[in-house]
Amino acid sequence: MDRIISSFRKAASRIVWAYSVCVVILALGSYAIGGNVAPKNIFILTWMYLCFIVINTVILSLDGIKSWERLPYLIKRLVAMPFLMGVAVAGIMNLGEIKNNYRTNLAITVVFFGVIYIIASTVAYVFEKKQTDKMNDALMAFQKEIAKEDE
């Protein structure tokens, strides 16, 4: 239970700022086109971010499980992708009130979200990998030094 609570706190703290930014963008967008923010849109946005918090809480809670911890970074991201994609695509389709060519637009949104998600995950991985490569080099040098000390 403690793990779920702490995972919820972490997930909420990560997602609340994104929610706030989205509300501001929505408000500015509505102001720019001379209209008011529709309560329905705020409701959809809130629903989306609540779902993101739930999904992230579940993902963070899995961290204590050894078999999940052993999975590589990118695999974990791919496992989370369909859930996040489902919520994001449903939210975007409702926010945009897309009714014409529903299937085509749905496919485009899914592909768009998938590509963006995979690119963002890969870029984040490459950046983190660079950091850990440096750490591995430092670890090798450090262990050589220890071996010399032991000698």
Binding site: D63, N136, I146
Partner: protein, 150 residues
């Protein structure tokens, strides 16, 4: 083999000097024995037996529900020290804090990989994995001589 013990008031730390004709197996065993005697920890096995193990054999310490356990290659020992004491006492043996609940022996780390949320994952020589919390990544880098921890 002759053994001499000399007491000197001006010596700050106990020193052991071995004089030998050649460094053979006996001398190496002696060195290992002295090292082990200086750096051992008392632990309790699952069956309640107590045993003393060299600190270098410990892969990591973990606090679970208020108790501290030392993880070796194929056994787990319950120890009486707190994690803070462990961290302080064995800093010089290359043990470093990696999360609120774990202190790892850097000698046993074989690989470092990225992990979600700016954390890193350590692979140990027994194939076990440990996650370094993002707040402790700086401490790990400092311990590896990479940078000063903020």
């Amino acid at each position: 083999m002759k053994l001499f013990v000399k007491e000197k008031c001006d010596v700050k730390e106990t020193e052991v000097e071995i004089r030998c004709r050649i460094r053979d197996r006996e001398v190496d065993d002696l060195i290992t024995g002295i090292k082990n005697a200086a750096n051992t920890i008392l632990g309790e096995k699952e069956n309640g037996d107590t045993c003393q193990v060299p600190v270098v054999r410990i892969l990591y310490f973990e606090a679970v529900e208020g108790r501290v356990f030392a993880y070796l290659d194929n056994e787990v020992l319950k120890i009486k020290n707190t994690l803070y004491e462990v961290e302080d006492s064995y800093k010089s043996n290359h043990f470093v804090r990696i999360s609120k609940s774990a202190v790892v022996n850097l000698r046993t780390v074989t690989n470092i990989r990225p992990e979600e949320g700016r954390r890193v994952r350590l692979e140990l020589k027994n194939r076990e994995h440990l996650i370094v919390s993002k707040n402790y990544v700086g401490c790990l880098k400092k311990a590896l001589g990479m940078k000063e921890a903020r």
